[in-house]
């Protein structure tokens, strides 16, 4: 009833007479007009809502992007933090059979003289780095260390920021890997852990295959200062075979400079190689399938820097000594190899 009255009143307002039918008809017309007006209003509202919705969407999009960026930044930042607790001995233990399978049957890995590593306490192991971003010698050594001393002994490895920011970072961190930095190295040694570092870093790991039997730390002596500060012995670890897991053509230092990767990502190199499955592989960002090259690792006797070179040692002298004994061992290991890849 209330609706009919409203219709009649509106019909009147729209020019309707006293006749009921006319009223009714006019009322109907008025109703149509009302509906039309309503439609128009609704249309306008719809457009305004659309605009508001679009604006809200845009805002939400911006917010989501900002949130995602913030989350990503937070995650990268977290990944680069040296939380030694991320090392998970139980998880590592469960991964050992898989590592053992790959190390034994793909790389025919051989790790010699692990007994040279002190039985307990912090120790700085210094290795030559090979194999591009896949570095088979690192995980073969991790396997050997973990089975020899047990997963209970804390063991950390330093890795480049890019590696720590990769999707594999969680797995690596559970195995004891932390981002490479002097602070992280110091924290690990102060906690009493064994620490494996590669002073040559990305410079050495991406060296051309023709230089596969060269130790190249690029003059980096930070590891000596680290050993002196933490008062721990240096144990050189020499590996061969990693640089035969792909055909490394060039470090691509010029390319890194050209593209500004050295400034933006701390990348001094942008390696160029021929690798499975990519063929021509620039940057090695997604890794590659390493060829089944035989990997041999030899652990040398510990070097007590202060005992051997005095209380205030000349860093250049220590550097020359460490790199020389490592090069001599690498030469011996190279002389044992009859064929590339096969070993």
């Amino acid at each position: 009833m209330a609706d009919e009255q409203t219709v009649s009143e509106r019909a009147k307002q729209n020019g309707g007479g006293a006749n009921g039918a006319l009223h009714g008809r006019l009322g109907s017309l008025g109703d149509v007009g009302r509906v039309g007006g309503g439609l128009a209003r609704a249309g306008g509202e719809f457009v305004r809502s659309g605009r508001r919705f679009g604006g809200a969407l845009a805002q939400a999009g911006q917010q989501a992007t900002a949130d995602a960026a913030s989350r990503a930044a937070r995650e990268v930042s977290e990944r680069l933090t040296a939380d030694l607790d991320d090392r998970d001995p139980d998880h590592l233990r469960e991964q050992l059979p898989l590592l053992w399978l790959i190390a034994s049957f793909w790389f025919r890995g051989e790790v010699r003289d692990l007994g040279n590593i002190p039985e307990e306490g912090p120790v700085l192991m210094v290795g030559n780095h090979s194999g591009g971003n896949m570095t088979p010698d690192t995980f073969i050594f991790t396997l050997a260390f973990s089975t020899y001393f047990g997963v209970e002994r804390a063991f950390h490895q330093l890795a480049h920021n890019l590696v720590m920011a990769s999707p594999f970072a969680r797995l690596l961190r559970s195995g004891g890997t932390v981002a490479a930095s002097p602070e992280n190295a110091r924290t690990a040694l102060e906690s009493g852990a064994a620490l494996l570092v590669y002073p040559g870093g990305d410079w050495e790991v991406h060296r051309p295959t023709r230089d596969r039997n060269k130790v190249d730390f690029a003059g980096r002596k930070g590891f000596i200062r680290l050993a002196l500060d933490a008062d721990v012995p240096i144990v050189p670890v020499v590996a061969i075979g990693g640089q035969e897991t792909a055909l490394f053509i060039s470090r691509g230092a010029w390319l890194a400079q050209l593209l500004g990767a050295d400034r933006l990502l701390r990348l001094k190199v942008l390696p160029i190689s021929l690798a499975v499955p990519w063929g021509l592989n620039i940057g090695d960002f997604f890794g590659h399938i390493p060829l089944p090259a035989k990997i041999t690792v030899e652990v040398l006797e510990p070097i007590d820097v202060r005992e051997q070179f005095g209380d205030d040692p000349d860093l250049n002298e220590v550097y020359d000594y460490v790199t020389r004994v490592m090069q001599e061992t690498l030469d011996t290991l190279a002389a044992e190899r009859r064929f590339p890849v096969i070993g």
Binding site: D90, R93, E94, Q95, L96, P97, L98, W100, L101, A103, S104, F105, F107, R108, G109, E110, V111, L114, I140, L143, A144, T147, Y148, G150, E152
Partner: protein, 162 residues
């Protein structure tokens, strides 16, 4: 994975047991073993602990083991405390002809490692089986050699006494 190897040794259980009870002998006759050290004060017997490693593939695997069964001249069993899960047993049984049947049982694995663990156990079996066989052969050679030496020494003493 469980492995089982056995051999017959021409010596009484007492002599073989004496050889097996001495931890310093293990590096001499156990094939593939790179470490066998006494951990703690107790050198042998129930509860004695050893840190042992055996080379399999690319790694030296093992860990801390403890003697969990010690039945003189018959059974000696050990179980892992740390490292790869393992359980082993020396089982000595005298035969009617005076010789001794020596059985070496070895079970191993890594709990929680899933399918890769199962595959690794399977792939390690031939190599570990070979180590066990060679270990028994070396044990036989060394114990029988010891037996011959002991008999020769006894004959010499007899002759000297005469």
């Amino acid at each position: 994975m469980r492995l089982n190897e056995s051999i017959v040794i021409s010596a009484p259980p007492k002599l073989i047991w004496g050889y097996l009870a001495e931890p310093s002998n293990y590096l001499h006759f156990m094939s593939g073993v790179t470490r066998w050290e006494v951990e703690g004060e107790q050198r042998s017997g129930l509860g004695a602990r050893y840190r042992m490693l055996i080379r399999v593939g690319s790694a030296e695997v093992g860990g801390l083991i403890e003697i969990v069964e010690w039945n003189e001249e018959r059974d000696m069993a050990w179980s892992s405390v740390l490292g790869v899960d393992q359980r082993g047993r020396w089982r000595l049984r005298q035969l009617p002809d005076g010789r001794t049947r020596v059985e070496l049982r070895f079970a191993y694995g890594v709990a929680g490692s899933g399918i890769p663990g199962w595959i690794a156990e399977l792939f390690a079996a031939p190599q570990l089986g070979g180590h066990l066989r060679r270990s028994l052969q070396q044990l036989k050679r060394q114990v029988e050699h010891e037996q011959l030496r002991a008999e020769a020494a006894a004959r010499q003493r007899e002759r000297a006494g005469v």
